[in-house]
Assembly symmetry: C2
Homo-oligomer: 223 residues x 2
Amino acid sequence: MDEVKVIEIKKSIFADNDKDADALRRELKQKGVYLLNVMSSPGSGKTTTLIRTINLLKDKLRIAVMEADIDSDVDAVKIRQATGIPSIQLHTGGMCHLDAEMTRQGLDNVPMDGVDLVILENVGNLVCPAEFDTGSCCNAMILSVPEGDDKPLKYPLMFSVCNVVVINKMDVLPYFDFDLGRCREHIALRNPKAQVIPICAKTGEGVEAFADWLLQEVNNWKK
Amino acid sequence: MDEVKVIEIKKSIFADNDKDADALRRELKQKGVYLLNVMSSPGSGKTTTLIRTINLLKDKLRIAVMEADIDSDVDAVKIRQATGIPSIQLHTGGMCHLDAEMTRQGLDNVPMDGVDLVILENVGNLVCPAEFDTGSCCNAMILSVPEGDDKPLKYPLMFSVCNVVVINKMDVLPYFDFDLGRCREHIALRNPKAQVIPICAKTGEGVEAFADWLLQEVNNWKK
């Protein structure tokens, strides 16, 4: 029951990733499947956030998850156990990001029948994943309070390519020098259109706002 | 006074980084300069840890710092203001790591006269920097409590290449599901010889143990 499918992702052979990503997006549009690419630092709470979000949406949408990781299978097992939805593990073989072709290799192994939403949990890294369009319909990133409100200044590309920034671990705000207003300003410098949604994945606080936003996105995509 | 030297690092032209790194290490040995490469996730507290450590050691050693960052100069300014020691900023131009040639470009801009210890703060990233030998005498990594004790399972290479793992933000242990014993076990799986030093850079607790360890390393290198 706890066994998850593990896909060893091969290095991409496509020279033009942007073209390939656009082609993948068109295919997804035709199939009515919404692909969400979730990026963050290691340890920002991607998996916990996804579990909470999926549990809020799984009665409204058919969801599948692809967990990209360099080596371990911890996250795919966790997602499946906590939500009951199909989850596969993508092993990147040491690679620090996914591109569109690597994402496609993953999607080929997802049971896509009737699926509305596929969530891709990218490798934990604020640098390289931002450079490669995965073909997703939307980029989300999770920034956690302990990482600091200066991250948009230091990792500009990541914040530029994200449509939504989820600020996680809001419960520990009193213990860190993190100012939500200042963080919003720093994000706006990089990307004035980015949605900013503060949550606490541990307690569930605020996750509904993210789930509602995502549900609307998926419904708009399928129109 | 607050202006720091900013070096735009060029992409390396050397095909064999390992060879180049070994050559750099030999040169450093001849000059009696110890190069410490510090790696971590974004937001784990590298800069604060370095400031504390430098302030404990600056009367015993002549120290210089190279701060690698994709874009900003925040850290080099912070280090100089808080410690008074020479600090330069290396801009990687979007690159996710430093290799030996890039490190050498930085060192060429450090005032090396009489310097005992050069600290390189690598790009905040648990994946790519682990793949490139910078030519340093020692690799240190900082893992912070909020990131979780499972990180050695998920980023195996990073923990394999590190001689010392500093566990930072020990003050917030009560608010996170982080078990120090379990973390030590996970680190030992990847690297049984790694030193593990728990600290709190914010309060300074435990930093002396890291500074003592580093002082001994530098003295051994100069013998």
